[in-house]
Amino acid sequence: MASRKFDVRRYPGFAQLTVLCLLILYVPLLVVAVYSFNASASIIVFEGFSWRWYVDVFVGSDSAKFKEAAWNSFFIAIIAATVATTIATLAATGMVRGGFFRGRTLSFGLISLPLMVPEIVTAVATLIFFNSIAFERGIMTILLAHIAFCIPFAYLPIAARMQGIEDTYEQAAQDLYATKRQAFTKILLPLMMPGIISGYLLAFIISLDDFIITNFVKGAGVETLPTAIFGAVKQGIRPNIMAISTMLLGFSIVMVTISYFVSKRGDHK
């Protein structure tokens, strides 16, 4: 059997298409990163390496606007990810360690609702909601919308991790007279940490990157990095936009890589 003339698994051209797929995914990002170091103000030709557009982002004419937007973005992302991860961890414990109950599927449907509803529909609905209760639009509305939207992104890795941990550890702790609360905080939570960290980082990136919902629920004059970048791009792609995009891009990649290795290390334990 093994000495067949050809390998049934191999199809000609598939490897090349895979390379093409990776090129399509990465080349545009690399090109933007390269051009962000362009010494020229032109975005057409590359005239040598320079940091000038990175300097421009921090001290140039638009720097005040970008700094405020960056501050807003990180403030919102940190709080939204923290709250969403806390809610998601509790919910995952209820779903995975709560036994079967009626409405479990419904409960899961509710948690993954933000993934099923198209983002623009969530954005419209949230805007209408805040408007109808006369809630003034600003940082607070962005924050609340992000918390809700981030819950499933934090929930999925956390629940997946919890399903991989047998409950014998908590049982053993309780046999040794630990209370349920102690079994949760001293045993389950530490075991869950890789999943929680990876869920937190994903929620953080989702909040940091969100454009559509933020664009709808932000008040006039309040900007996050994506909405500020979008506004600037409407007047044309300038090199400082490429510099700020490259920084944001690098930041996301670092965060996802950390998340990947944290959850991988957790698997080997």
């Binding site: 059997m1 067949r4 049934v8 698994r9 199809y11 895979t18 797929c21 399509i24 990465y26 545009p28 990002l29 051009y35 975005i43 809610i87 919910a91 209820g94 779903m95 995975v96 360690r97 709560g98 036994g99 409960s107 899961f108 509710l110 948690i111 993954s112 933000p114 993934l115 099923m116 509803v117 623009i120 529909v121 419209v124 609905a125 949230t126 209408i128 909601f129 408007n131 919308a145 819950i151 999925l156 629940a159 997946a160 399903q163 349920k180 949760f184 994903l202 990136i205 990157d209 454009f211 664009n215 709808f216 994506p226 970048i229 979008f230 791009v233 490429m242 995009s245 891009l249 990649i253």
Partner: protein
Amino acid sequence: MAGGAASGGSGAASETYKEARTLLLMPAWLTLIILVLSPVMLMLVYSFLTKEFRGGVIWDFTFAAYDQFFCDRGLFGDEGCTLEWTYITIFWRSIWQAGLATLLSLAIGFPTAYFIATRPANVRPLWVFLITIPYWVNLLIRTISMRFMMREEGPINNLLVGTGIIGEPLQMINTNFAVQVGLFYSYLPFMVLPIYAAVERYNFTLSEAAADLYASKWITLRRVLLPTVKPGVIAGCILVFVPSLGAFLAPDLLGGAKNFMIGSLIEEQFKGNAGNWPFGAAASMILLTMVLIMLMIYARQQSRANRGEA
């Protein structure tokens, strides 16, 4: 996203925190009911209200928004209802664009997913990771980078003109083609992941058996492999098609004013000068209904596939 269904259903139920269950789930329920579910319900109500000029609504119930969407009542608005094509055309164009983007993703995504799934088991996670990274990079930045690539003086045109393949730069930006490529680029990882998961579980002795019975490779692919991994392929297509349908950034930044899609139509009702909230809510409801119907068909299909496996 595709792995979501697994966390919902099966698995031996542990009951350690059974008594605290409601308390544990309450924060998630409340947040999502207040901030997602009830807003969607409210949006349904808004789609039946009267528009207030410059945004907002008057609480008078009417079918005006849906009437505006489907009915052409002549120049003075006093004629009988004949089908209004303006908005249906926009929806149709969105379906068409999202469909082409899905096909393009499938053409590249399937071979990629298959290739990754047939690598040695220890390097597969790294391949998957490479495919997922771009998804976590800001969609806005990715769309901007596509716009940058496809400009008239952009790298793609420079390359093609420089190597003499074409004489004049191609007009790529602000075309339907640019939108398709943009959508394809935005959601390609969604196509690869579920197909990868399906091919990874595929039992290759089936292919061996087909080969032993003198089936050629391509016959084996079409008659044996594809039917087996079909649920993964359908999942991938839905994960690309659904977000493409309601996309805003790709049509806005790559398509220009002529290549309007649903997302832009909705956005304009709340942000632009049209300022018709009930109409925007109605268009959102129609989009949501289309997506939910597709997800329901998908869920039925998947549960049928699961039963087939068992």
